[in-house]
């Protein structure tokens, strides 16, 4: 270990690393490797128009795509203890955190915003995988608690969009405690009779999946998203066999009954609006339904039914 391995190599690596979101005029789809014109990508909500691969989206873009006219207000998240364990591996967690903040220009791995969807009040908590793998520590837990409280306050629907590797291990047991914590928060929304919808994006794993992400009233997954509890490398090491094809992918979860639907990004907003409308506006109540008049032409019981063309 010297400054070359510790400092120079990661810098070079960061410079040449293939980015999931192409930043220049042209980009390359990480799945089919076809070139895509940047403007084209933007037009298709960062879905490859060659192979339908859903590229990673940052939280801001997600919010723009979902709220009416891309109009929303983010809320400031309450300050919490950072680095409760004074955790240090090669590098202090504190400086990793600061680096992530500089790089993403965000405070944490989640943004909470409110606005309207199809004219209905809605609160969204969207994860940013680019921020320390979207991992959940105390601050992310706090954001979900705040989002849930805001939804109850505004009588709004709550959507959470995880993109997360799981618990943030640099916060140790306190990151694990965000599992019950977020579960309580979500419980508050459900108790208030408000819909809680989860949109599972690539990837949603670990402690995030094993808490609020799997507790949605409705669970929607983006095509191809990896969704699971254990990482597939860990599973592979345990079972020492080849994993089934498509294992832990959204479509696989759909087949196994773990999500309600897999929805293409271009249909996501419409689907959500429709779901909220159906859940929150059940339509006319029974008192205006007129009973049918008994003058319908119903053949008397026992009369001969004639002339079905297909019957011999």
């Amino acid at each position: 270990m010297n400054w070359l391995t510790n400092y120079v190599r990661p810098k070079i690596r960061a410079l040449v690393r293939k980015s999931d979101i192409p930043n220049h005029l042209w980009g390359r789809c990480p799945a089919c490797e076809q070139m895509i014109f940047h403007r084209e990508l933007e037009k298709h909500l960062y879905v490859c128009h060659h192979c339908d691969h859903h590229l990673r989206l940052d939280a801001k873009k997600r919010l723009e795509y979902l709220f009416d006219d891309g109009d929303f207000q983010t809320i400031e998240l309450p300050p919490v203890t950072t680095d409760p364990l004074k955790f240090r591996d090669h590098k202090a967690y504190d400086s990793r955190l600061k680096e992530a903040q500089m790089r993403t220009k965000a405070d944490e791995a989640i943004i909470v915003a409110h606005g309207k969807m199809g004219g209905m009040a809605c609160v969204i908590g969207a994860f940013d995988f680019g921020f320390l793998g979207g991992s959940m520590g105390v601050a992310v837990g706090e954001a979900i608690v705040s989002a849930a409280r805001l939804a109850v306050l505004q009588q709004a629907s709550l959507i959470v969009i995880p993109a997360s590797g799981g618990a943030r291990m640099q916060e140790g047991i306190l990151s694990l405690m965000q599992m019950p914590r977020t579960t309580i928060a979500i419980g508050g929304v459900k108790e208030a009779g408000l819909p809680y919808v989860v949109v599972l994006t690539n990837p949603t794993t670990g402690g995030v999946t094993a808490s609020f992400a799997m507790l949605g009233d409705i669970a929607i997954a983006e095509p191809g998203a990896v969704i699971g509890f254990a990482g597939n490398r860990v599973i592979q090491e345990t079972i020492r066999e080849k994993l089934p094809e498509g294992f832990q992918r959204a479509e696989y979860l759909l087949d196994h009954g773990m999500v309600d639907m897999v929805v293409h990004r271009r249909d996501l907003r419409d689907t959500l609006v429709r779901v909220f409308a159906l859940l929150r506006d059940p339509g006319p109540t029974a008192d205006i339904v007129k009973l049918p008049q008994p003058e319908l032409d119903i053949p008397p019981v026992g009369s001969d039914v004639k002339g079905k063309p297909d019957q011999a």
Partner: protein, 345 residues
């Protein structure tokens, strides 16, 4: 001398849990690597015992002297175990398991099995029992002792069915107003293809939800390894108590080392960094009480360790039993809502 588990357990045994084999091979002491000086001293004592039949008078005194030395050595070693050493103690082969606690602490243990939709998961033992006069619902991870048992109990790594069974039984306890007592000792939830296909994550999430939802007293004791999501699924409780050398962590030191240090060599550093000991967790406000272990760890005097845990569970239940149900549930939720590292400031 290292105590054997089989004999004292048999005395305490009232109703044996179904198929839990309690006498296991203790012929090997399973010394941990840092216990080498102790192992040497005890080997010497054994050797002298073999000689004592020859009528030499001062052998007895020598044995006594060595025993005192072992005693001192044990106190000194166990007084300042590092987090990684504690991890090894928490996973010690001879450490008492949930089924031992059930055998010694519970009367009329009546195992209840199955999640009613797929399977019975023996990684979690469960059932009705009477604990110091009080009927309770008991749930505990069981790792198993010999190879056959370990396979049957899947090394204490539960599948979705285990958590779904736990949810079913927590709800049952709630209906009949029985306190829930859980014994946590798991490396973590089982990482398998089937477990994933059947919704491991959802099952754990629902178990956490159920822990938070019941309005009966809920006491959780971490007796060995509190491994991540698999542990927390049974450990969201009004009172979480923990044995002195047990561990409770978001990830195993090995897992953490391989992810953050990219090498298993740094396991000790990871164990330090994760703050997974009972003392750390008290400071972080995550657990409510630490139970002292017998000298040299719970495996040296299992009966004593089990009884101490029993006393702590009893005390916790006595505190909780008078609290009105709605209030209890609210207090539990408030306690967890507050877990954001405030205890540190």
């Amino acid at each position: 001398m290292q105590a054997t588990l089989s004999a004292p357990i048999a005395i305490g045994l009232r109703v044996a849990p179904a198929r839990a084999k309690l006498d296991f091979d203790m012929s090997t002491n399973n010394y941990l690597d840092f216990e080498k000086p102790i192992a040497e001293l005890e080997a010497k004592i054994e050797e002298l015992r073999g000689l004592s039949g020859n009528g030499e008078i001062n052998i007895g005194a020598e044995i006594k002297r060595l025993e005192n030395k072992v005693d001192r050595q044990l106190s000194q070693t166990y007084e300042k175990l590092t987090p990684w050493q504690k991890t090894q103690v928490a996973r010690h082969r001879n450490r008492p398991h949930a089924s031992h606690y059930v055998a010694r602490l519970m009367e009329d243990f009546t195992p209840l099995a199955g999640d009613r939709s797929f399977a019975e998961d023996r990684a979690i033992i469960s059932g009705l029992a009477r604990f110091r006069g009080r009927a309770v619902m008991l749930l505990g991870h069981e790792k198993g002792f010999d190879t056959d048992e370990r396979i049957a109990h899947n090394f204490g790594m539960a599948s979705p069915e285990g958590y779904r069974k736990a949810v079913r039984l927590m709800k049952l306890a709630d209906r009949f107003r029985l306190p829930v007592v859980t014994l946590v000792d798991t490396p973590g939830a089982y990482p398998g293809v089937g477990a994933e296909e059947r919704g491991q994550a959802e099952a754990i999430a629902r178990a956490i939800e159920a822990c938070l939802d019941v309005s009966v007293p809920f006491v959780s004791a971490i007796i060995g390894e509190g491994g991540s999501g698999g542990a927390v699924a049974l450990a969201v409780a009004d009172r979480v108590i923990m044995l002195e050398h047990a561990i409770y962590s978001v990830i195993s030191p090995e897992g953490c080392a391989s992810i953050l240090w990219r090498s298993a060599e740094h396991t000790q550093k990871a164990a330090d960094a994760l703050k997974l000991t009972a003392k750390d967790l008290t400071e972080l406000g995550v657990i409510d009480a630490v139970i002292r272990e017998p000298k040299g760890g719970a495996h040296r005097d299992p009966d004593k360790a089990i009884d101490e845990v029993g006393n702590a569970i009893d005390l916790a239940l006595k505190e909780l039993i008078g609290i009105p149900p709605g209030e209890l549930r609210r207090q539990r939720q408030d306690k967890y809502l507050d877990m954001k590292g405030n205890a540190l400031t």
